[in-house]
Symmetry: D2
Subunit: 343 residues, 4 copies
Amino acid sequence: MIISMKRGASREQIEHVRERIIAFGYKVHSIEGEERVVIGAVGVGDTTPAIEQLESTPGVESVVPISQPFKVVSRQMQPSKTVICINGTSIGGDTFTVMAGPCSVESEEQILSTARAVKAAGAQILRGGAFKPRTSPYDFQGLEEEGLKLLRKAKQETGLATISEVMADADVDLLNEYVDILQVGARNMQNFALLKRLGKLNKPIMLKRGLSSTLKELLLSAEYIASKGNTQIILCERGVRTFETYTRNTLDLAAVPALSELSHLPIVVDPSHGTGRRSLIPPMVRAAVAAGADGMMVEVHPNPELAFSDGAQSLTIETFTKMMKGLQPYLDLWKAERKLDAI
Amino acid sequence: MIISMKRGASREQIEHVRERIIAFGYKVHSIEGEERVVIGAVGVGDTTPAIEQLESTPGVESVVPISQPFKVVSRQMQPSKTVICINGTSIGGDTFTVMAGPCSVESEEQILSTARAVKAAGAQILRGGAFKPRTSPYDFQGLEEEGLKLLRKAKQETGLATISEVMADADVDLLNEYVDILQVGARNMQNFALLKRLGKLNKPIMLKRGLSSTLKELLLSAEYIASKGNTQIILCERGVRTFETYTRNTLDLAAVPALSELSHLPIVVDPSHGTGRRSLIPPMVRAAVAAGADGMMVEVHPNPELAFSDGAQSLTIETFTKMMKGLQPYLDLWKAERKLDAI
Amino acid sequence: MIISMKRGASREQIEHVRERIIAFGYKVHSIEGEERVVIGAVGVGDTTPAIEQLESTPGVESVVPISQPFKVVSRQMQPSKTVICINGTSIGGDTFTVMAGPCSVESEEQILSTARAVKAAGAQILRGGAFKPRTSPYDFQGLEEEGLKLLRKAKQETGLATISEVMADADVDLLNEYVDILQVGARNMQNFALLKRLGKLNKPIMLKRGLSSTLKELLLSAEYIASKGNTQIILCERGVRTFETYTRNTLDLAAVPALSELSHLPIVVDPSHGTGRRSLIPPMVRAAVAAGADGMMVEVHPNPELAFSDGAQSLTIETFTKMMKGLQPYLDLWKAERKLDAI
Amino acid sequence: MIISMKRGASREQIEHVRERIIAFGYKVHSIEGEERVVIGAVGVGDTTPAIEQLESTPGVESVVPISQPFKVVSRQMQPSKTVICINGTSIGGDTFTVMAGPCSVESEEQILSTARAVKAAGAQILRGGAFKPRTSPYDFQGLEEEGLKLLRKAKQETGLATISEVMADADVDLLNEYVDILQVGARNMQNFALLKRLGKLNKPIMLKRGLSSTLKELLLSAEYIASKGNTQIILCERGVRTFETYTRNTLDLAAVPALSELSHLPIVVDPSHGTGRRSLIPPMVRAAVAAGADGMMVEVHPNPELAFSDGAQSLTIETFTKMMKGLQPYLDLWKAERKLDAI
């Protein structure tokens, strides 16, 4: 950590900062410039309170951390990629994971027909919301446990693994009983009570990036889960909020290689929420594969215009099936790159 | 709601859209332009699913809602301002509310000395976090119930009302027992499970605007609480996230008159989080008063450089006291404006 | 255009709006809802002033345009893609265009060695800045005409076409004399005087998206050029500014298919500025190809650590050459998709 | 400047960085941490190229500058505020400057009647655009020289000083002949050719903050002008672009005290563009005064619904006059604060 003193900071102030750094467990190295004094704090001290408190100490202009604040989820800690095995498939390994299904579970007919179709087209995991985070209280809020039962039924019939969103601490046990992966939505990325609770499960968690979260914040939220013991975490890039209005969000595909530099966790891309427009999903799926993502999550509905939610960004079964066919040569290239990386 | 069809939409598509609009409970008015057909849906139908589903209907280019989606919290519904009475003071009435105190409750000595000082300087409400939402799991997470007990002690001694953040559904009852106002933090503004739970309390809730939430989304989150029965809601502008890095957030003071046009709920400004810099707080407090806010929330700490959190944006007791003195003439103007408005 | 009146707008106000719409050359269709009146303006009137002025007319709540404001550059106007032929190559056709070279032209040795190397690796166009837009006046501002002469020399030797940025109206003729494509930088995307001037040239213009420009604004800037007669325009996505700090900008790859829906102009992706990090460029180049871009622009420098500008995002010649080799199978897929589209 | 080496950087890499720092004119201080080496570069070297080039040097993880990059415009360089005297009034001194007038000069009648009215209400400076930066080429582009003549006429009749926007290098001499202050619009804030040209004038320049410009970038653009010799610069906060759509921009009032800490230049607030909504202007004007701005710029039109541009954010003459009356007690407080500061 580097502490830059204000121009004209007094000798007493400088000495006081040095003492505080030592109190936090660091060694002190001062650099006396012509304009100001800069102090390096070296070693393994108590970083976070140190940064905050030193920023408030008289005479200090700024404090710049040198190390990344996340540990368990960092590449530094674990150079090899995390592979999550589930229901006979793996995420983060040598298969590109396809998660597909409706935004909301709406009926037995709807989820079963979708499940069969996405499986036939090549998906390994079925998505479907039973608890829905909706901006308005007057929107459809999900079928709740009934929806989870239908998801389980779809799994029993098709053999697909399942993923569904958990919105509240109180629902964790219920979700854990019914589905294979628990998803934390963008709006809950910093619901720390929920993250801590999920850290105690022995089940994969997919953590979506918040609407205006930096990559560092996403990784610190993953660290909340991992630091409690559960390291089966999948990161999900689903677009961030910007000034652009043509798309629902701005899909940040550079997050894929960037997160991959910073962390060993698998990374999935959600172009449905990332763009909010059906027509943009197939090119963004190809781009996600080419960028090296470990998988994708896509919304598919048998009849989007009757969907209870997110119809405008849902693919029909036909479009999804066609998209999957067109994706095959890109998936072949993806596999070849993975083999090269593994050598 | 106005549905704009694509250029070249077929007669069948147009007819299908008309039928669906009628099925949602609206009357249909079509406008046949030279380039395209635009259809108005008039009356009181089931707006939200209609918008989403019509957006996904073949031949539709866009759907533009005409009415605001929030109801209970809108000015239209209730033209007169909501006044929340609490502990002998009121929020939204003819007194500018001052909430002050440390970011976190740290010790008896710390919270009591701060309480006495902010009361002496003119505050009516004591803030202090017992459960802390921290970006990193390795940061100080709050004293929890112990902190709440200290807050209550400070209330007993000084007579100040108290406010503290609730982070999880599971903590609602505990907070409800100890404090006068429950605060929902920016990161939880769309924690819908928590909002629904708070909607069933008979206690004021302060709802902070999310880091990248629009005013409309803030009001829809308030609507989540209000639609469950609790209309004692205080809105809080605390800055939004932008590209600017000099300040921690960008304080959107125009939100004060804008929210006041849209809603009858009282509005409080938090310049501590809004700027993240001690030196910018006094001018932003004056600006908030001049913009017509109903109150402010400010972080004050007896010794910011030893604060467990947010030291860089905490005022010392001396600075706070001086700021409050300098604020008096602005508060006098504020009171005069309120009287004019009331006539 | 749809004009939504305020609830409670008076009959006189409604009548006045109707008269004004007619005065702008439109036909009027009113929809009398239960809560408010909505008026459709149909036909070909004088859209832009109409929208602005109607927004200011008493009793009006909002005005929503139905048609896109750009014309010459829209897909609607010209369904087939624009192909720009230059120096024996084409942009927007059946070859993926590779533009590469240093951020700034620095010396004969530097530009010639880079030109030879990028040509050998497969580039068709050499980039190199002679006039540099730098945030600080104390940064290197470019070699100016001397730089243009060196670019021409590199073209003569290698046969590569050239592209260089024009920053000022006064330099247009000079640039026009020396290079094959004139580039408008992100900071000048709304320098309307410059755009109008370029609209009178008979030379391809590459227009970069502004740091916080919407796609619609980018197309309206292209319209400035096109409406003066020059329709040889290449659009360039180079990342937008967001809150994320790990990358220099947030590369918006969904802009590629989105612009392609809206406009017939070719679209090039610049992952060097889009990410600002050398390590992220190869995956983003693959993603751009997969997303269907017409080309890319990449910064390459023989010795990035001695570059006068943008060294951190410049590829070495070795890395560029290796990246181009790895790109070949993706380019083969790209070509196959183009052939399919053409059928 | 602090150079942080990557973990595992080699001895050769570290030595190479040390040599390069010395070559840039700095002294070297190394700090050998347990995880990595951090190197301080001390003294007065050639900062800007050094930062960029060191960032690209093998083994370097990041380079953090310690000093601010702007010099002439910084508070450090000149602790006392710049006061610009013009036409018998001053900006940055002990009078709050009021600039008012129409977005565009449209006719003699329009500009003269507005000039008389804003003067009567207390304005010192008349604004009016003769060259208009419009997003669409089909929008009204301004009366050009004819508009400037009308502005001069209004000045002759009323004695008000005048300000108008310059959009192109080629128009600088013309504007300089007719008006008292040349305004650089948000879209041209980084039109460096224009800034350099204005740096050679002996006339005040008002520089508006770009739509997505940081405060640091605004000051570096001011530095472009100042470094060429013209230090009569007025900064203008006019809102930045965010995700919020209720307001046209997000007015960043904290920029007022922030810029005042960083620079000695006067700061004016433009709530017309900052909010885009007539109803929000009076509260934002009061807030700007309370925040300590040196002045404001407001759009006023005799008949906003007939305005050629920006009608929705223009005040009528009546509203402006009423607003100015209501502002008086706030201006009295402002004057009292200035006197206190001056002591």
